[in-house]
Amino acid sequence: MKYLALVYYNEAIMNAMSQQEWDALNQECIGCVENLQRSGHFVDGHPLQQTDTATTVRVRNGKLTTTDGPFAETREQLAGFYMLEARDLNEAIQLAGKIPPARYGSIEVRPVRELKAEGNLAGGKST
């Protein structure tokens, strides 16, 4: 089963680091990816540039609008993602706990759902 591990942290904490500290954390992340690849749990994953580079896109009444920044102001910002292959949520939680930024921010673990022609999960709850 696939789980997306979304990495969140407060960008201000990362910005307050020295270049050396920041590089050290990134080296840890490289090591983390290598470990996940070796154990066969890594499907995909990338770090993201900071939220001031983000653009939010919406389509309403057929009209596309764009706004600067992420859609909501939050204490922690999305910083990257890991697509993991895990046996179950327990394994996904163990893997997510090894992602280095978990020490600074948080990792949201979400099961991936299959996109199907019908009988899709997660919505359509109105009877």
Binding site: D88, L89, L121
Partner: protein, 408 residues
């Protein structure tokens, strides 16, 4: 036969459910299968008689009927078809092992108490699925409404299914961290059985017995000091079960209980387990509460109780669990050691803070100390306030009796 089946439902339905969840891999399917199994029993047993192993019969009946149903609906639900085939194959391969079946309730507990669920959901789900309390009973225990509770359980089950929370006992390395939540839930369950939070029925032995059974299972799986401590605590409290209420259900206080009727076997086992837990030097609040219960259990009467030791144990307990209820119990013990004035001063101080102001036992304890000090007006006012806040039938009757004795 119908009575026997009803009885069996009370004692066995949760264990059958726990096994069916493992076999069917889904809470809702398992609940449906459980229902089907008991319907089948009601149809067949009156004519054929009860089978030698009713639990095994119910499990396989539930399983068979679900395979049937899943096959019929298989055309519309691919995944159901898969489950049905898998089940049919497994069924031919082997009968469920006794050992696996014994662990099923433990699997169910660890799944219901999974840390990915909110604590509210853990409690609600465990009480509903493992213990079979109704949503109304759980709602009362948590001072919320039945629809809110039902919603909470539906969401928790959906998360277990959609996020693939495994139906398993955690690995040894994860076990201690997962255990704490489980202990909390078991103790809440025991208390629901030991002193039902609302309603007329004061003691529900089946729930307390179920909690003790779960405690024993946990002790076998992971004989950690706090598991021993919790089991000891439950055994020691349960040893007094027959003396806590009178023939007509009225509440009997510790000081008035017939100690010769306390269950010595439970007391001896409880004390042994407390000593084991204390000896480990890694004990926590359950062990300390059990140690307090053990001092009471060994005392020949209320006056011949080692109150100094009890106050000391409450001090230790308060140092790791700074709960206002612990402080209240300590105040009552101090009153027994040093006299009601000392206890009253402590309780009055506690009641200056909001935490205990709506807690009926705080007012009842205060009233009791005033009564012993012959401060009749204060005692009446205290019992009245306690009566206003109390929700449990036997407790209410006890408070009303005290009031009547004082002419209030």
């Amino acid at each position: 036969m119908q009575n026997a089946i009803n009885q069996l439902y009370q004692t066995e339905s949760r264990r059958v459910l726990a096994t069916l969840i493992r076999l069917l891999g889904d809470f809702d399917l398992a609940e449906e299968a459980l229902h089907e199994a008991f319907s089948a029993a009601l149809q067949q047993w009156p004519a054929q008689g009860m089978p030698a192993n009713p639990r095994a019969w119910l499990v396989s009946a539930g399983r068979f009927r679900m395979i049937d149903q899943l096959r019929r609906h298989g055309r519309h639900h691919e995944s159901y078809d898969e489950i049905a085939e898998q089940l049919a194959t497994e069924l031919e391969a082997d009968a469920p092992e006794d050992h696996a079946v014994e662990d099923d309730q433990l699997r169910l507990i660890f799944t219901c108490c999974h840390p990915a669920l909110s604590q509210e959901a853990q409690l609600a789900l465990t009480l509903r699925e493992v213990c079979g309390l109704t949503t109304e009973e759980i709602a009362r225990a948590f001072l919320t409404t039945a629809p809110t509770l039902a919603q909470r359980i539906v969401r928790a089950k959906a998360k277990i299914r959609d996020a693939n929370i495994p139906y398993e006992v955690p690995e040894k390395s994860e076990l201690p961290a997962r255990l704490e939540v489980v202990l909390q839930v078991i103790y809440l369950l025991f208390n629901e059985g030991y002193a039902a939070s609302a309603g007329e029925e004061m003691i529900r032995h089946d729930l307390a017995a179920e909690a003790i059974r779960l405690g024993r299972l946990l002790c076998q799986l992971l004989p950690e000091p706090e598991v021993q401590g919790l089991l000891a605590l439950m055994l020691l409290q349960d040893s007094r079960r027959d003396t806590r209420t009178g023939a007509d259900g009225e509440l009997i206080l510790l000081e008035d209980q017939d100690r010769s009727r306390w269950d010595q076997q439970s007391i001896q086992e409880g004390i042994q387990r407390v000593m084991l837990a204390l000896g480990s030097q890694r004990f926590g609040s359950y062990t300390l509460q059990a140690a307090i219960a053990a001092v009471h259990a060994e005392a020949p009467s209320i006056t011949d109780t080692d109150w100094a030791q009890i106050v000391g144990l409450y001090d230790a307990l308060f140092s790791i669990n700074r709960s206002p209820v612990v402080a209240l119990n300590r105040a009552v013990a101090v009153a027994m050691r040093d006299g009601p004035e000392a206890g009253l001063a402590l309780i009055d101080h506690l009641l200056t803070k909001p935490a205990l102001r709506d807690y009926h036992l705080a007012h009842a304890a205060r009233a009791d100390m005033c009564r012993r000090l012959n401060r009749k007006t204060d005692a009446i006012a205290g019992y009245r306030q306690a009566l206003e806040l109390a929700r449990q039938g036997a407790e209410r009757r006890f408070l009303a009796r005290r009031l009547a004795e004082l002419g209030g």
